[in-house]
């Protein structure tokens, strides 16, 4: 079993705009652990640094500072090319993450060949079919011969999951795996990931902006806001008893008609049940303001 320890992970992007140079801190001292069999959810709005963390874990970006330590059960560290055998990633957009030129078989067979999981064409093919069957793609023989444009979004995302698990990965980074899918098939893909996690005892980092699925599928939730972890804790307590204003806002944005108004008000916001539309929540200061930018007194 493989676990990941992320310590003080920081990523800065240098932006050059004409003569001006500025630094954007996309991820600011984020720490968390990924343990076998457990799911950590990263929640936050667009631009909060969720995907940058995923890309750093997948070694697509280099961290500016901080460390990502992947260790086996006996505490031996995982380095170099072996890293990719242990840590794999599922991308957000299944319509972009499969090469339109290659067959499904190619996508699943390549990681098997790169990491020498199989020998010979026959064994590789057998393994590819097995992987496709594991992600509920049947008839697997038929689907292996197809090309990405002949599959639906849900099927493509299953192929992407099969590809990620093909090298025998123990750590799975799922970067908003269902946000591009039809609502009707999201649950199927999420349940599939939960089943695979149980079977393989995977450590999963689940990145999302959907609090409902984060609560349902994860053990721990980290709320990310402008690159910083503003709140963390067991899934249920973060959702049901949010402490930080931003988490309260996120929880309140979830479309739950019964709870919505109450939560916002409980968070210390003005009563908006009337027709007073002159106040708005400022995402960046975490305050309610009226139209003339004065903070609204908490009732």
């Amino acid at each position: 079993m493989t676990s990941v320890e992320v310590k003080n992970l920081t990523k800065e992007f240098h932006i050059r705009n004409g003569m001006k140079r500025s630094t954007l801190t996309a991820v600011d001292r984020v720490s968390f652990d990924l343990l076998p069999g457990r799911t950590v959810a990263l929640v936050g709005e667009s631009g909060s640094g969720k995907s940058t963390i995923a890309r750093m874990l997948a070694r697509l970006e280099k961290p500016t500072s901080g460390s990502i330590d992947v260790t086996l059960d006996d505490r031996t560290p995982v380095h170099g090319s072996v890293y990719r055998r242990h840590v794999q990633m599922v991308f957000q957009d299944p319509f972009a993450s499969l090469n339109p030129f290659h067959s499904i078989e190619h996508h699943v067979a390549r990681p098997l060949k790169i990491h020498r999981r199989t020998r010979g064409a026959a064994e590789t093919h057998e393994r590819v079919v097995h992987m496709l069957e594991r992600v509920n793609l049947s008839p697997a023989e038929d689907i292996a011969a197809r090309r990405p444009h002949e599959l639906s979004g849900g099927q493509r995302q299953r192929v992407a999951i099969a590809r990620a698990l093909a090298p025998g990965a123990q750590v799975l980074i799922a970067d908003e795996p269902v946000s591009m899918l039809d609502v009707s098939i999201r649950l199927g893909v999420l349940n599939l990931m939960a089943r695979l996690q149980r079977e393989d005892n995977l450590a999963v980092l689940y990145i999302t902006h959907d609090l409902a699925t984060a609560r349902h599928f994860s053990d721990e939730i980290l709320v990310l806001y402008r690159g910083r972890v503003v709140e963390r804790g067991p899934a249920d307590s973060v959702i049901l008893n949010p402490q930080h204003d931003y988490t309260k806002l996120l929880a309140a944005s979830a479309p739950d008609p019964e709870r919505m108004g109450k939560l916002v008000r409980a968070a210390g916001a003005p009563d908006r049940s009337g027709i007073d539309n002159s106040v708005s929540f400022n995402h960046y200061t975490g305050e309610w303001t009226s139209l003339d930018k004065r903070p609204v007194p908490v009732s």
Binding site: R55, A58, R59, L60, S81, R84, R85, Q88, M89, F91, Q92, D93, A96, S97, L98, N99, P100, F101, H102, S103, R110, P111, I114, H115, A145, R146, R147, E150, A160, R163, P167
Partner: protein, 327 residues
């Protein structure tokens, strides 16, 4: 206005089903990777391919059957007919024989330049864009410099600079390749920049693919239609430029091409002597070859631009649907 009367036009969805049904019946497999890259048989492709194939066959096999193109006879400027199918030149050389050898020479130049220019543009365009950073800046600066250098004057200067006895087929081909690759490299660079940021390239890197494999297996196949059309364009460019150079007297010294034929026809006052059989055949072959290659290029366009393909696919489906409705 809403039209509530049901249309008699058969629906495209029905045709889709009909197509799928016939495919199932015949047990056809879906088109695999390489086959889908081939352009489908459109009228323009068939015509273009026919023209080019005929000219290539003539250039390949023609020289085996014709007389010696250099034999000088007393019967100068004979119109077509008699012993000479396309007449003779001023010095009594057989025009058909000259035409066959000249076509072969022009095709050789076109092919060599096409391959060289495509290789150069793929190297500078794809590699620079994939590596990014300093390599990209350097490669793209270099191709920009090559791009703004006016082609034909440079070709004339280089051709004029190389002594005539050394100015062989390969010299001309290299000169044309060096002046002809830059525009294609820029197109390939732009396309690669877009491709390398696609998720599937990132996914293959996460899977552990090496850089050369990412370029060769994940990126390059998606560039093939662009490269193919640029190759065809480079061939047209080379044949036309070589004809232009040769017409100016700056062509290869040891080989005959369509351009050198026109050069000698011009020098021999073919136009003033109304010896049309001397200059029309080489001119016609150049024009037909350019036309045929362009038609092929239009068909390759369909692969690059799926919108064009959809228009035709839709028309085909509608035809099938109408047929099914008529039955």
């Amino acid at each position: 206005m809403t039209n509530l009367t049901p249309t008699t036009e058969p629906s495209v969805a029905d045709a889709d089903e009909a197509l799928a049904a016939t495919a199932r019946e015949e047990g056809r497999k879906p088109r695999a990777g390489w086959r889908a890259m081939l352009p489908s048989m459109t009228p323009s492709l068939v015509i273009g391919f026919g023209i080019v194939a005929a000219i290539v066959l003539f250039g390949l096999l023609g020289p085996l059957f014709v007389q010696d193109p250099t034999t000088v006879r007393n019967s100068g400027l004979q119109p077509p007919g008699g012993g000479h199918l396309l007449g003779t030149t001023q010095t009594g050389q057989d025009v058909l024989a000259q035409l066959a050898f000249a076509t072969r020479g022009s095709l050789e130049i076109g092919l060599i330049v096409g391959v060289l220019a495509t290789l150069l543009s793929a190297f500078f365009g794809v590699l620079g864009a994939y590596l990014g950073g300093f390599a990209d800046e350097a490669f793209s600066l270099f191709s920009n410099v090559m791009l703004v250098i006016p082609g034909l004057p440079l070709v004339i200067v280089i051709s004029g600079f190389v002594p005539q006895e050394q100015r062989g087929l390969w010299t001309i081909a290299v000169v044309l390749a060096i002046t002809g690759w830059a525009a294609s490299a820029r197109v390939l660079r732009a396309q690669t920049l877009s491709l390398r940021n696609r998720d599937y390239v990132a996914a293959s890197r996460v899977a552990g693919e090496r850089s050369w494999r990412v370029i060769a297996v994940e990126i390059l196949p998606n560039l093939l239609p662009v490269i193919a059309s640029q190759f065809v364009f480079a061939v047209i460019f080379a044949i036309l430029s070589e004809a232009g150079l040769a017409f100016l007297g700056l062509g290869a010294s040891n080989s005959s091409t369509l351009g050198t034929m026109l050069f000698y026809a011009q020098n021999g006052f073919a136009l003033q002597l109304k010896a049309w059989w001397w200059f029309v055949p080489p001119g016609l072959i150049i024009a037909l070859l350019g036309c045929g290659l362009s038609l092929i290029n239009f068909s390759i366009d369909e692969i690059i631009n799926p919108k064009l393909r959809n228009v035709r696919a839709h028309a085909k489906r509608m035809r099938i649907a109408r047929k099914a409705a008529a039955r």
